[in-house]
């Protein structure tokens, strides 16, 4: 049983997982059956991906198809395997979670829709990653997009769900159209719809430039790079939470995969490609997290963090491209390895966060964090898992987020040491940018965690929160474990990553040790352990002291005020106010602040809300303008028959005059 066969089996199983349920009268049984099949398929797929990563071999299978687009192949290589790992792992977790979060008993109308399209979505993604023919790729791509649309619009009786779904569908289709152009151009360059071997195309041609631009457009739209991210926040916010987790964890990574895969086909890459990707990455990262800080809808906030992390991944890719341009293999290795590892890491901790958020929303019935508070008491496990995710996404040691950012940082710094004016300048600039992103992320997540889980309940909803059921907690626990595992023992990823980078750019003749040499992953383990030991020591001492000395409970010190009420707690808006003010230039927040005139002001409230500025201030106005212009043209269809005949007449005459 080779890796490829395993993957193919997994694709088939996941694709069909939802079908039996359609014919079962007992919906709960159907859901469980579908989940079981899906999980089994995912496990098989994981086995396949892991074998590939272990062996580092590439397997190509020709498949017989009758479509007039040349031969068709599918293949599994380490680069793809990394993404397959993500697809199958997260898919399995979300499916299990769904049985608790979206039980058939409570949602008889929609459960089949969800299980069916979820399986289809998983399979489409896996197929997408293994496709080696442009047309097959496009088909998988669109099946993915469409099934995701149906999942997203599950609750289409809600108006904003409909809006989000429509926006998503339109943007994703625009991306697909841009990919039409890209694969056509690629066919022109390679002479066939089959993907040419990695590094076989010369990037210094206008054709290649066209491919690069269209790829950036098409895949960037899916990945949610600024300013193409407009669909992402509302989509992630309005989908059912496990779908949000899957979208944010995996779907947008498919855009990254497409970008990486299409870039892998080129050699002799011009510097400006790398710089473009790097700068776009920086913009997405900083702007994404800045927008996130302004949100107080839990899921919208997490969605903007997806944009941020996609930005970080793009920065890694940019570093790798710059490395190719200046011929510095260390940069290629570290940048791409960092990017790929961050794909994996973001998938895990973002899925974890969304699942935890789902549990919270399930318990409190609201997405508004200002209505939560004190949940750590009522749902301790969820709170703990969310904390793990939060620390990880902030890139703080000793969790996995740190490792991938560490790789990218080391890449940046080793680029800075090298020669080459422009490149060095941009790399040097991006290190502090990444630091800024990290700092803002910390600010944002301490806000979420503090306001939602700590303190005391701010509203009824939160007061009656209840801990999630086991089937919801188990996936979270698994994901949290992965976060810690990779964070403390990153060395186990060194081999796979190096293999993936190698299959991305065969020129880089690197294997496991080289990566560990370039970035001391072993030391990260040591430092992690040191941290844990120190913490353990202090904790032990602390506990000892607590045992030894009297411990009494009191009320929070209100600086003399003895009857604090929940409404006195700092809200998300007020927490973010200073930062939102600092970034008001790009955020355009809607602020309603009290105007204090008379000496003894009456009751007043402060609230700030950050809209999807790109959409509101750039895209919609343009579309509206275009629409008004077109309205003029629509008068041509005025119903006057004789003028219709005149059109015919004029066409005839014009053609005659043109001809003679």
């Amino acid at each position: 049983m080779t890796a490829g066969n395993l993957i193919i089996a997994a694709i088939l199983m996941t694709a069909l997982s939802g079908i039996p349920a359609l014919f079962l009268r007992n919906r709960t049984l159907g859901q469980n059956l579908a989940t079981a099949i899906l999980v089994l398929g995912s496990l098989i797929g994981l086995a396949g991906a892991i074998t590939t990563l272990g062996s580092g071999r590439t397997e190509i299978y020709g498949i017989a198809w009758s479509l007039p687009f040349g031969p068709c192949e599918i293949g599994v290589d380490p680069l793809g395997a990394i993404f397959l790992l993500v697809v199958f792992a997260i898919s399995g977790c979300c499916a299990v979670y769904a049985t608790g979060y979206w039980p058939a008993a409570d949602n008889p109308a929609t459960v089949h829709r969800i299980t069916f399209f979820f399986g289809l979505l998983t399979a489409a993604m896996a197929l997408l990653v293994t496709a080696r023919n442009g047309v097959l790729f496009l088909m998988a791509w669109e099946v993915m997009a469409l099934s995701c649309y149906f999942l997203l619009s599950t609750e289409d009786e809600k108006a904003d769900v409909r809006e989000a779904a429509t926006l998503y569908l339109i943007t994703t289709h625009l991306g697909t159209l841009s990919l039409f152009a890209m694969f056509s151009l690629l066919q022109g360059a390679a002479g066939s719809f089959l993907f040419p071997p990695a590094g076989s195309l010369n990037a210094a041609t206008p054709l290649a430039t066209g491919i690069f631009v269209t790829a950036l457009l098409g895949f960037g739209l899916k990945a949610g790079l600024m300013p193409l991210h407009i669909w992402l926040p509302s989509a992630h916010a309005n989908a059912p939470s496990h779908i949000s987790a899957f979208m944010s964890g995996v779907l947008i990574k498919m855009g990254i995969y497409g970008l990486v895969r299409s870039l892998s086909l080129f050699h002799n890459i011009p510097l400006w490609w790398g710089i473009t990707v790097l700068v776009i990455g920086i913009i997405s990262g900083v702007a994404g997290v800045a927008f996130a800080i302004g949100q107080h809808d839990l899921k919208r906030l997490l969605a903007y963090h997806s944009i941020e992390n996609i930005g970080i991944i793009a920065m890694g890719i940019g570093v790798a491209l710059i490395g190719q341009a200046v011929g510095n293999t260390i940069l290629i290795l570290l940048g791409m390895a960092g990017a790929l590892l961050h794909v994996l890491n973001h998938a895990t901790f973002k899925a974890l966060l969304f699942l935890a958020a789902g549990a919270v929303i399930h318990a409190t019935g609201t997405r508004e964090i200002d209505l939560m508070g004190g949940l750590a008491r009522r749902m301790p496990y969820t709170a703990a898992f969310f904390l793990v995710g939060a620390v990880a996404i902030c890139g703080l040691p000793p969790l996995n987020g740190f490792v991938s950012e560490f790789l990218i940082y080391v890449g940046l710094f080793s680029g800075i040491l090298g020669e080459g004016g422009t490149a060095v300048a941009f790399l040097a600039l991006s290190a502090p940018a990444l630091a800024l992103i990290g700092g803002l992320a910390v600010a944002c997540f301490i806000k979420v965690y503090g306001v939602a889980f700590l303190g005391v309940p701010r509203a009824e909803e939160a007061a009656h929160g209840h801990e999630a059921v086991r089937v919801m907690l188990a996936p979270m626990a698994l994901l949290a474990t992965i976060c810690m595992g990779i964070g403390i023992f990153p060395r186990m990823m060194a081999g796979p990553l190096a293999g993936a980078v190698h299959s991305w750019q065969p020129a880089v003749g690197m294997t496991g040790p080289a990566l560990t040499a370039a970035a001391p992953l072993g030391w990260i383990t040591i430092m992690g352990l040191v941290q844990i030991c120190l913490a353990g020591g202090v904790a032990a001492h602390f506990i000892g002291r607590l045992k030894a000395e009297p411990v009494s409970a009191g009320v929070t010190w209100g600086c003399g005020y003895l009857r604090p009420t929940p409404r006195m707690q700092y809200t998300a808006s007020s927490f973010a106010e200073l930062l939102v003010k600092t970034f008001a230039g790009i955020l355009h927040p809607h602020v309603t602040s009290p105007a204090m005139k008379e000496p003894l002001p009456g009751p007043a409230r402060f609230a700030s809300h950050v809209p999807e500025t790109m959409l509101e201030h750039v895209f919609m106005p343009v579309l509206r303008l275009a629409n008004d212009r077109l309205a003029q043209l629509r008068r041509l269809q005025h119903g006057q028959l004789h003028l219709y005949i005149l059109y015919t007449f004029v066409t005839l005459v014009v053609l005659l005059i043109w001809a003679y």
Partner: protein, 212 residues
């Protein structure tokens, strides 16, 4: 002989102007009928006699000269309308435009080579001019019936050209031409009746509910 054909063609073109200038529908119908008769005579002049030719002539004169005018007059009588009041473009203007179009037709005809047999004949300009006139009527008149007349003129123009090919072209294509003409007019006649029933008038400028 051929010069005489040319004179007839000039006559055809004059009839075009009559159609353009006439405000009374009855007159326009007669004019078209006359045009049909003239066209029916033309083949006689350019082709040697043959029974086949005779058949065609008779057929045309019957169809274009009698049957269709009869249908149209019937429609007019049903809808009780005498004259085309306020067309979209005034009569004088249409006449001028018609003149320009005729000129254009001659220019256009200049550019096209003729078969040796037809050198110096006015067939091409005449037919093009008539077609354009038909268009002009179609685009400038309000009443459905007048638009049908315009369509007839258009058909006549095409038929003029068809004469150049009478022997070259198999019968059934002419038959096709006639068939098309007849069926077209027939269906239109029916519809005109329905229009007058639905809208109590056959003023097509009222038919503008379907639009963006």
């Amino acid at each position: 002989m051929s010069s005489f054909a040319d004179q007839l063609l000039v006559l055809v073109m004059l009839i075009n102007f009559a159609v353009l200038g006439s405000s009374r529908i009855a007159l326009a119908i007669r004019a078209v009928a006359a045009q049909g008769v003239v066209l029916g005579l033309l083949p006689w002049l350019i082709h040697p006699f043959s029974w086949h030719l005779l058949a065609i002539m008779v057929g045309i004169i019957l169809a274009k000269g009698l049957l269709i005018p009869w249908l149209l007059t019937g429609a007019v009588r049903k809808a009780e309308i005498r004259r085309e009041t306020e067309p979209f473009v005034g009569y004088v203007t249409t006449l001028i435009i018609g003149a320009l179009l005729t000129a254009f037709a001659f220019v256009f005809a200049e550019k096209l080579p003729l078969a040796p047999a037809h050198q110096g004949l006015l067939f091409v300009p005449a037919s093009v001019a008539t077609v354009l006139t038909g268009f002009l009527v179609l685009t400038t008149r309000r009443k459905a019936i007048t638009q049908v007349i315009g369509y007839l003129v258009l058909e006549n123009g095409i038929f003029i050209f068809g004469l150049l090919l009478t022997e070259a072209m198999p019968v059934m294509v002419e038959a096709g031409a006639l068939l098309d003409l007849l069926v077209g007019i027939f269906v239109m006649g029916i519809i005109i009746n329905h229009i007058s029933r639905e809208f109590s008038s056959i003023d097509t400028s009222r038919l503008t509910t379907l639009k963006e």
